[in-house]
Symmetry: C2
Subunit: 292 residues, 2 copies
């Protein structure tokens, strides 16, 4: 049921992903390496969240679809760079050779740079009110930046292999590395719909809780999951001495934390009703259902 | 004389460069590696051009200074990534160890990513009219993206070591790799000042001509220059079999091409008068004066 609803959001996003890199003047080699990673599948959760919040607050889908979809380009760029030999050195991504394995390191660095810059040009070309677009794009740029995702990746590298691991470090790292972008995806959707200050607070609360639940679930699945579904070897975090929730809290307490976060996300949606509100609640619950 | 005038523009830009990375939540390691490259000196030509065009068309300096300065963050990110071992593998930049030599490859990739994203958050926080900011930032994002700077770097890698070198390839590569951003720096300044369509055409013509002159001059200096001034070994392009103007046209014809471009840039300023117009003309002339 939730999977069908997810597909209703994902289908138009996939269509934009098919077309959005086709600009005049892009060298064929670059287009190929960017497309390879962008079309390797994935949950498309950031665009879905942005779109679902925009529609929940009454915005029309076609007005925000390109903006929402651009968030997947930012996510894909971060995966390509994280997989590089100098970083996590991952040969596999979603069951396929990583970008640098397929195209070489230089091409992979540039594919990431290309996706990141293209994401901004997609965000900034829109027929919505310039003030709202500016506010939403500024939110995304901060979340993707040094005080967000890039900073989180730096903390991840610093913490990996470090013996003094604290829960606070882990929360800080994830809140920057994945939390900030997931929260901002919801916030950007609310901003693009002209949401009130209260709407924005709820979108932020929902997104922050969902982001944490999502990371906890991913960490659990790295231990208990199925390699074919994960698209990468089970236990790869442990093998690399990565700081994870199960490593710090154990599996049971990690599950409890994940479920608490799902409950908090669901509560943030309580003031809304209807089909679109139900989708956002079900989506939150689905994250921890995958773990069971 | 031109150096004094340049410093009048550069001084406020350097002040913003000193402060602009200080955001709450940025890990210390990341701040250090980003600052290292950002404060390694450089001509600051992109911010200077943006500011000079905005002021030429009547905009106030304090309103556009952060936007203009952000262009130097984009330039610095591109240098850090270009120097990486997988790309040009340059150990020296402006006479100092390259970012990856000083901080390691992972830190250098992330310093680049951090500077690029921070540049956008700087561009998008402004008290100018949202429509103008949106248009200017969209221009910059396209120029920095797959159909601009990133695409140009891909072409550079493809062409290096390739035997079938044509002048058209070289022009295409440079027009993407450096030309697009220099042209767009001028255009963004004109847009932020609320320039007319004619103003924008002239800013584009000036910037495109200046960008080409700049590249020709750089290529010539790589052969005839002084290592201490260049901050890198003389002849490094040749050693690497890089496609350059002197390699294709010879030194004399390259000089002629550079001077033609300077003349074209100066002509684009003819409709304007006063101190600020004189500065832009002198700046264009100065580029080829360095070569003599």
């Amino acid at each position: 049921m939730i999977k069908q609803r997810l597909d209703e959001y994902r289908t138009p996003i996939e269509e934009v992903l098919q077309n959005c890199l086709q600009e005049e003047g892009v060298p064929g080699e670059l287009l190929e390496s960017m497309s390879y990673s962008l079309q390797a599948g994935g949950k498309r959760i950031r665009p879905v969240l942005c779109l679902a919040w925009a529609e929940l607050l009454g915005q029309k889908r076609e007005k925000v679809l390109w903006f929402c979809t651009s968030l997947e380009l930012i996510h894909t760029y971060s995966l390509i760079h994280d997989d590089l030999p100098a970083m996590d050195n991952d040969d596999l991504r979603r069951g396929k050779p990583s970008n640098h394995i397929r195209f070489g390191e230089a091409a992979a660095i540039l594919a990431g740079d290309g996706l990141l810059t293209r994401a901004f040009s997609m965000m900034l070309q829109t027929d919505l009110s310039p003030g709202a677009v500016l506010q939403a794009a500024a939110q995304i740029s901060r979340a993707a930046g040094p005080a967000g995702m890039v900073g989180g990746q730096v903390l991840d590298m610093v913490l990996t292999g470090n013996n003094k691991k604290e829960l606070e470090d882990l929360k800080e790292m994830h809140s920057l590395k994945t939390g900030a972008m997931i929260k901002s995806s919801c916030l950007a959707g609310a901003i693009l719909a002209g949401g009130s200050q209260d709407d924005l607070l709820r979108a932020g609360e929902y997104g922050a809780s969902l982001g944490l639940a999502f990371q906890v679930a991913d960490d659990i699945l790295d231990i208990t999951g199925d390699q074919t579904k994960l698209g990468k070897p089970v236990g790869s975090d442990q093998a690399r001495d990565k700081l994870t929730y199960p490593a710090l809290l154990g599996l049971d307490e990690s599950r409890t934390l994940g479920l608490e976060m799902v409950a908090r996300a669901v509560r943030a949606i309580e003031p809304y009703s209807g089909d679109r509100a139900d989708f956002l609640k079900d989506l939150a619950r689905y994250i921890m259902d995958r773990v069971e």
